[in-house]
């Protein structure tokens, strides 16, 4: 150590992003990614803790210090392969994980300074491998002769399928929609997760030998029992929590009022933002209100802005501290000129004589004691009603379990809210040969949690298949 010189502390590298005024008018990805130089500077900030806390913060326990060390060594491919030992979709997770609640929250540097930008580094190496076309297909393992059916090509299904294929089993994914990815394709917008990148991740899973059958609605086109009686030895159900929730307040069926599922499915899956090049339309309001405070609400309101809304507003009944959305999304939304009407709740919608929504009547809220979720309960402030002009409303207050599968499979154990009951550690259900994981078990949650469930189920299914 040189006497008298204090080592300069490298600040956390800010990820380059599109300028807010420009990006709020296009659907291109907001974050532009680190340059190699930035990635190296950031990776060198990691002090390679002997007992890394970050690993414990990761729902799939990626060996974070190890992958970061490889970046320092300029071994970017080695780095992404290290990540892929635990997480098969690093290009996705690097973009959408709430790192501030997971790995980065635990980072020791965060105590006195800013944590290592683990998410940005994960994204960097995943993008590097893909852009340089260096993605290698792993060797085909010895086949076990066992077959597994996976219901749903979302994060849980793709992960479980990929892991089982690597263990030598024959896996088939049954997906209802015409494009795979689940929430990754219909829920998360292009400007957060480019679909071309997602498709490459899906293609990688296929390259492991997994067969993906789109246009297959399990429960209607085929049933779980047919699968188990037929060619499959086990089934993993990961069909998501796709039932939209409405507030059931007056006027909610007026024209121009959407569930976030519909609004985002039109825009993201069907590319309605490119109408008329793509045939599916979407109403491009001028004054759009989105009800909710999670990632789906942020995605919806920022989509509205990009579709040309002069006023794109969030109406959320709690305060900023309670908003469940990822910090970066809230931050980006603020920069893009999204209006935040917090501690506010809609109570009624009014329309014109043709049935189009024109106004929303709201009431101000104040926070009381915590409710079941642990967050302070919002209470309406009597006499604080007011009205706002709106021409499109998106209700993004959460989703519930879609009953379609459970209605057609009576032996499937479900709880009173319609979610499938499965063992937390293994994903096993009480129905013989059937596992479940992801949002259909937990309710709407995150991509990484779903992936973790997919991994655990794959391990458990593998054990079970060895006894058959």
């Amino acid at each position: 150590m040189t006497e008298g010189t204090k080592k300069e502390k490298t600040p956390r590298q800010k990820i380059p992003e599109q300028n807010p005024a420009i990006r709020s008018k296009n659907f291109n990805e907001v974050n532009l990614g680190y340059t190699e130089e930035m990635a190296l500077l950031e990776a060198k900030r990691c002090i390679q803790c002997k007992n890394p806390r970050c690993v414990k913060g990761c729902p799939v326990e990626i060996d974070i210090p190890a992958f970061i060390k490889k970046i320092c060594e300029h071994d970017y491919i080695g780095s992404v392969l290290k990540i892929k030992e635990a997480n098969g979709l690093p290009a996705v997770c690097g973009r959408v994980c709430p790192q501030e609640d997971q790995c980065e929250k635990e980072c020791i540097l965060g105590i006195k300074d800013k944590p290592v930008a683990i998410g940005n580094l994960e994204r960097f190496v995943a993008d590097y491998e893909r852009e340089k076309d260096l993605v290698k297909k792993p060797a085909v393992p010895k086949q076990t002769g066992k077959a597994v059916a996976v219901v749903g090509a979302g994060p849980a299904g793709l992960t479980c399928a990929g892991d089982l294929a690597k263990m030598g089993h024959k896996v088939t994914i049954f997906e209802a929609l015409h494009i795979s990815g689940g929430v990754l394709v219909y829920g998360i917008p292009e400007f957060r997760l480019p679909k071309a990148i997602l498709q490459k991740e899906v293609d990688f899973v296929s390259s492991l030998g997994v067969e993906i059958k789109n246009n297959s609605l399990v429960g209607k086109t085929m049933t779980i029992n047919e699968m188990l009686d037929g060619e499959f030895d086990a089934v993993f159900i990961a069909n998501g929590a796709g039932l939209p929730m409405f507030m059931n307040i007056p006027g909610e069926n007026l024209n121009g009022i959407y569930s976030s599922n519909e609004y985002l499915t039109r825009s993201n899956l069907m590319k309605a933002y490119a109408f008329p090049k793509y045939d599916t339309p979407i109403i491009k309001g001028n004054s759009v209100a989105v009800v909710g405070g999670g990632n789906t609400a942020m995605d919806s309101v920022r989509t509205a802005k990009r579709l040309g809304a002069e006023r794109a507003m969030i109406i959320y009944r709690r305060s900023p501290e309670e908003m469940p959305a990822r910090i970066e999304e809230i931050h980006h939304a603020e920069e893009e000129g999204i209006e935040f009407h917090l501690l506010t709740n809609p109570i009624e919608y009014f329309g014109d004589d043709k049935g189009w929504v024109k106004k929303v009547r709201c009431i101000k809220m104040e926070l009381g004691e915590p409710d079941d979720s642990g967050r302070r309960r919002p209470i309406p402030k009597e006499g604080s009603e007011f009205e706002m002009d709106v021409d499109v409303v998106v209700v993004a207050i959460g989703t519930k379990a879609n009953p379609l599968l459970s209605q057609t499979t009576p032996e499937l154990p479900i709880n009173k809210w319609g979610y499938i009951v499965a063992d937390e550690q293994t994903g096993k259900t009480t129905m013989e040969g059937v596992w479940a994981g992801g949002d259909i078990v937990t309710g709407g949650a995150t991509v990484i949690l779903a992936m973790g469930a997919g991994k655990r189920a794959a391990r458990s299914i593998n054990e079970y298949l060895q006894t058959k």
Partner: protein, 275 residues
């Protein structure tokens, strides 16, 4: 990709397509529908399954051209493929022995009602079919409907075939002039027709069901785009329907929601026709 085994042009604006879809063919029951997407830029649209052949592995649909997506389907030929077909969707028709059942079909609704008429006949009902269209050329499925019913009444608005007048007039004659005792009515066709049938049977207290044709996207109950109010409650046509008790349906709301994309639909269709 779903291959078109046979395409018949019944009328410049009406196509009958037999599509290779073995899994759907095996599972499908009367009253169910599919969601199809013709190509990569296409919309997802719901179309009722008119018939299926489980051995051959095919389903049959009838499509009336009313906009770009239906025009796209109409333009396909034998040997072409449809990118995506999802089904069978919706709850099957609830078939029961009611006694005397009147099946009313309007336009291509007649073809869609064929499997339902057949099931009601097989269940031991006395089936009277009333089918109508604006003109003779737009009538479909007459031969099969005659086979699946005990009595067939044909109506055309312009009198070019059968009785001149609306299907509702034929229904009224059955009930009021001929004094036929009717236990159940099922109507499939354009919304104004189904509404008129419902308004007619309501004071008669005859159980009436109709097959709703809302705008849909996924067809699996995940977006709520197809929501309607039935008996004061919100229902999704794609998973709770497509058939509902007509007397409970909020027709005003249904018609209001059908108009959401009128201007975009017009824009798309006009561009398509110019190209």
């Amino acid at each position: 990709m779903f291959k078109i085994i046979n395409k018949e042009q019944l009328h410049p604006s009406i196509a009958k397509l037999e599509i290779e879809a073995p899994l759907i063919a095996r599972k499908r029951k009367a009253g169910q529908f599919v969601i199809l997407r013709v190509n990569d830029t296409g919309e997802r649209i719901p179309i009722t399954i008119a018939d299926s052949d489980p051995e051959k592995g095919t389903i049959t649909i009838y499509v009336q051209e009313i906009g770009k997506s239906s025009a796209l389907v109409n333009s396909l030929k034998t040997g072409d493929s449809i990118s995506d077909v999802l089904g069978p969707l919706g709850r099957p028709t609830h078939i029961k022995k009611f006694g005397t059942v009147v099946i009313i079909g309007g336009g291509v609704g007649t073809a869609e009602a064929l499997p339902i008429a057949q099931e009601f006949k097989n269940a031991g009902n006395n089936v009277i079919a009333i089918v109508g269209a604006r003109e003779a050329g737009l009538l479909v499925g007459l031969e099969k409907m005659a086979e699946y019913s005990h009595r067939l009444i044909v109506c055309t608005d312009d009198g070019s075939k059968g009785v001149k007048g609306f299907v509702t007039e034929a229904l009224r004659q059955l009930k009021e002039d001929e004094k036929i005792h009717i236990d159940y009515v099922l109507a499939v066709g354009p919304l104004p027709m189904m509404r008129a049938v419902s308004n007619m049977t309501k004071p008669w207290s005859i159980k009436t069901e109709i097959s709703l044709n809302s705008i849909m996207i996924d067809g699996t109950g995940m977006c709520g785009g197809c929501r309607v109010t039935v008996g004061g409650e919100t229902r999704f046509v794609c998973v709770d329907g497509p058939e509902f008790d007509a007397h409970e349906v909020d027709f005003d709301l249904l018609q209001q929601r059908q108009r959401i994309y009128l201007s975009q639909e017009k824009e798309s269709y006009e561009s398509f026709k110019k190209a």
